[in-house]
């Protein structure tokens, strides 16, 4: 007998990084690594399940910036080059390690990368978003959207038009790609604040996900905690993250990825081999960086790492998958006894960063696949999506006002507003106000003005990405983040200064900017003018 539900949610996002002005740009590899290590293995595993007839349901949030990059012809070409370089290096490694103990792992990489190469070029024909879309149409995956450029909404909330643009642009982009509006919305960094639901509702969004204490600290107190959705005053269903299942996968001390059998992330041959041997995978300018070839396993709290054993990792992940499913069943059974009997059956919501699976935790995509297999064998729990649960039990646990929260450090906004990055907001708010003013004033501008303001809106959205304050705070790639914020705001101001002065920006310059920041080709800047937004 089915006593409850589990919903696994994967949030896939990367900031928009595209540098046509450089042949090799280190930060573009964030995307390449994620495709190789996360998105392709994930699709491969899901399609294997589909082919075997294993029923599964998964919610996947693809951020609009990620989709723009996955679709971009330049980045597709560059990724293909990267993937081919990986296959080539794998073959060189097989030869090099012929008499070494690493040989077995090198052969494993050779097969693995050849398979990915075949998938990307032949099966998906470089269209990763299309592959997810096919799984969605086949009924296995629920696709949802996210903020247009992943702006952290609680720190933009002083300007409702700006928040609305983040939501609306994402929703329209989703509609354009998939032919229907998004039912679900991943709040960037799980950043919820009271009244954000109005912007979501306006864009037709039915549900979103929040951090645990957004629900547990809600007013009035929800009777079923995070184990059923509730309705915000604005009429959006909120699903709270279950802390137990998250911890089992995420936690540094109790989580699965720290097991000694799994692949070690930090030991990479990119730091050992010569650049000539690494070929294209060597860092530009002689920088030592990750190549994706990691021959060691976590082993334990030691620097003396053992060699990776794919077979042992496979057995461990199967054990962990069985444990995960067993624990969810136990949790659901216990909840069934604890919760009031007059409401909907418990739902355990387990959201994760998609890049955890594959990039940080190499075996993660296989783990998810095994979880689906294990879950299909059970009668007592069902793995479904949040949208399914909403259809089955629309009433949830009634209405409450969730608390301001995020899933970041300490659960609030301080990681994105700190000594290292607070200066960003002065400029983001100032630019946001200029954008709203111009959108109101030029509601029916000339084609030249419209084109310029559309690009200004793109630049503003790109500057608002939560990734820049995040990187500024962590100190990794902080120079790059600083440069990106300055670059987009400078481009924005240059356009807006020209329009404010009654002229238009230099068309050659504007063409260059358009071709560099080319996401959201159908963006309409009037999304910032309330009248235009409500009229559609």
């Amino acid at each position: 007998m089915n006593s409850g539900y589990v919903a696994i949610v994967l949030h896939a996002h990367l900031p928009f990084v595209r540098h046509p002005d450089h042949e090799h740009y280190l930060e573009e590899r964030w995307l390449f690594e994620a495709i190789t290590e996360c998105y392709l293995p994930l699709l491969d595993g899901l399609e294997r399940l589909e082919a075997e007839g294993v029923p599964f349901r998964l919610t996947v949030s693809l951020s609009p910036t990620l989709m723009a990059m996955l679709d971009d012809p330049l980045l597709r070409t560059r990724y293909q080059r990267y993937l081919e370089a990986s296959v080539e290096l794998a073959e060189k490694e097989v030869v090099l390690t012929r008499d070494w103990p690493e040989h077995r792992v090198a052969r494993f990489y050779q097969r693995h990368l050849k398979n990915l190469h075949k998938l990307y070029l032949e099966r998906y024909q470089r269209d990763v978003v299309g592959a997810f879309h096919r799984l969605a149409r086949a009924g296995y995956v629920d696709l949802i959207t996210c903020g247009a450029t992943h702006g952290f909404l609680p720190l933009l909330h002083h300007q409702p038009e700006v928040v609305r643009a983040q939501v609306e642009v994402a929703a329209r982009e989703f509609q354009r790609r998939f032919g229907h509006p998004p039912r679900g919305f991943w709040l960037p960094e799980c950043g919820y604040y009271p009244t954000v639901d109005q912007a979501l509702r306006r864009a037709g969004v039915q549900y979103c996900f929040v951090e645990t204490h957004a629900i547990t600290h809600a007013r009035p107190a929800p009777t079923r905690g995070t184990y059923a959705h509730g309705w915000t005053p604005g009429g959006v269903a909120v699903f709270g993250r279950d802390p137990t299942s998250s911890k089992q996968v995420w936690s540094a001390h109790e989580g699965y990825p720290g097991d000694g059998a799994y692949r070690e992330f930090y030991r990479d041959i990119g730091f050992d081999r010569d650049p000539e041997h690494l070929g294209l995978l060597a860092g530009p300018g002689g920088i030592k960086t990750f190549s994706g070839f990691k021959y060691h396993r976590v082993t334990g709290p030691t620097n003396d790492k053992d060699l990776y054993d794919p077979w042992a990792a496979e057995m461990t992940l199967r054990r962990h998958a069985a444990h995960f499913v067993q624990e969810r069943a136990r949790q659901v059974a216990a909840l069934r006894g604890m919760l009031p009997s007059d409401g909907p059956p418990p739902l355990v919501v387990a959201p994760y960063d998609a890049e955890l699976f594959g990039h940080w935790w190499f075996e993660g995509p296989r783990f998810l696949e095994e979880v689906a297999r294990q879950a299909a064998r059970r009668q007592d729990i069902r793995f479904i999506t949040a949208g399914d649960y909403l259809d089955l039990h629309p009433e949830g646990q009634g209405q409450f006002e969730p608390s301001l929260s995020s899933w970041g450090y300490k659960g609030y906004a301080e990681f994105w507003c700190d000594g290292a990055n607070h200066w960003v907001y002065r400029h983001l708010h100032g630019a946001g106000r200029r954008m709203v003013e111009l959108a109101r004033r030029h509601g029916d501008g000339s084609p030249g003005v419209r084109r310029a303001l559309n690009q200004a809106a793109r630049e503003l959205l790109l500057a608002q990405a939560s990734d820049w304050p995040f990187l500024l705070k962590t100190g990794t790639a902080s120079n790059y983040a600083w440069r990106r914020v300055h670059m987009h705001l400078q481009r924005f101001n240059q356009i807006v200064d020209a329009i404010s002065a009654g002229t238009e920006p230099d068309p050659v310059w504007l063409t260059l900017v358009e071709s560099a920041d080319n996401l959201f080709p159908h963006l309409d800047y009037r999304v910032y003018a309330p009248a235009a937004a409500s009229g559609e």
């Binding site: 990367l14 046509p20 294997r48 082919a51 007839g53 029923p55 679709d71 971009d72 330049l74 060189k92 090099l96 050849k114 075949k118 998938l119 032949e122 099966r123 269209d127 086949a138 009924g139 790609r177 039912r183 809600a218 007013r219 107190a221 009777t223 699965y256 720290g258 097991d259 000694g260 992330f265 081999r273 960086t289 334990g300 054990r319 069985a322 067993q326 960063d353 299909a376 064998r377 059970r378 009668q379 479904i384 399914d388 259809d391 089955l392 209405q399 608390s403 301001l404 906004a413 507003c417 607070h422 907001y425 708010h429 990794t476 101001n493 260059l512 358009e514 071709s515 080319n518 996401l519």
Partner: protein, 309 residues
């Protein structure tokens, strides 16, 4: 003699049949009838307002039991990836002394070894094993759902990117918009920044240089939580060079505040330059009131009242 020949011929035929059967490729086992359904998937597009989709075919199916669930390894290592989402790639310095291995040894050997030889368990060791090549006929064909590629970005080659003129990047010092913005960092902390050039210039002109110079800038914090009087709870002296402040004390979770930027004279007279919108801090603990209590309009018997709202 004939019997011997017959036996030899029969033995050869038997061996040939045996070898043929043994070498026949085995197809992977399948789970139930859904495997064939998967070839032609029904499009499932749910729009808001539509009736709920039929998800009955996702019901769990009883299949052969898997291996006994085990427990995760107790010894787990702290890993930096737990600290946050994407982009947080810290380059760990590699242990020195590792030899650089670049010389090629021998001729290139291109060997495509079956995945099963190392990754998958031997047949029967782990129950059902299904392996698929990417182009396996078991997978449904990729339909034409190619996403639209962006229209922007077509440029004739070669492109002179230096025309963008972004060797130096600068942001404006002001936006010509007088404001005091208070932002919530956590239940115990507010961040306030301000830009008050116009209001400052007006006040300076109104007061005159001598009086202006007697005043010093300060922030005043008003608790405007419903039910409270909105009295100033704190005055924070700040230097004239500051354009932002982190208020990490004096504020309480669940309360609502207005922060004003003012100049005050030594006698305690305040000149307001600007103030923030009311800003509500989040609660840091669960409510004791459930929706039911609120609906009844009174607390149940024995209710002592909540120490917090």
């Amino acid at each position: 003699m004939m019997g011997l020949v017959f036996l030899v011929v029969a033995g050869l035929i038997f061996a040939a049949v045996w070898i043929t059967l043994a070498r026949r490729p085995r197809t992977g086992a399948r789970l139930g009838p859904d495997a064939t359904d998967a070839r032609e998937p029904e499009p499932l597009v749910v729009r808001p307002g539509d009736p709920p989709p039929d998800t009955s075919h996702y019901d769990n199916k009883q299949v052969a039991p898997g291996p006994e669930p085990g427990l995760p390894n107790a010894e787990l290592k702290e890993r930096v990836h737990m600290e946050g989402p994407k982009g947080n790639r810290q380059h760990k310095p590699h242990k020195p002394g590792s030899p650089k291995r670049t010389e090629r040894r021998g001729k290139s050997r291109h060997r495509d070894v079956e995945l099963a030889s190392e990754l998958l368990p031997p047949a029967g060791a782990e129950g059902r094993v299904v392996r698929l090549r990417p182009d396996s006929p078991d997978r449904p064909d990729m339909p034409d759902v190619k996403t639209e590629v962006g229209e922007l970005g077509a440029l004739p080659e070669p492109v002179d990117w230096s025309y963008l003129g972004e060797e130096e990047l600068n942001l404006p010092a002001t936006y010509g918009w007088d404001r005091v913005i208070a932002m919530v960092r956590n239940p115990y902390s507010l961040y306030v920044y301000w830009e008050l050039d116009k209001a400052g210039a007006r006040l300076r002109e109104m007061l005159g240089e001598a009086e202006w110079n007697r005043t010093t800038p300060c922030l005043r914090l008003f608790d405007v939580t419903p039910g409270l009087a909105g009295a100033p709870v704190r005055v924070i002296d700040i230097g004239p060079e500051n354009d932002h402040w982190f208020i990490n004390d004096f504020v309480e979770p669940g309360h609502r505040y207005i922060v004003s930027y003012e100049r005050r004279t030594p006698e305690g007279r305040y000149y307001l330059l600007g103030h923030s919108d009311p800003t509500q801090l989040p609660y840091d603990r669960p409510a004791q009131q459930t929706a039911l209590y609120r609906m009844y309009g009174r607390q149940p018997d024995g209710w002592q009242g909540s120490p917090w709202r």
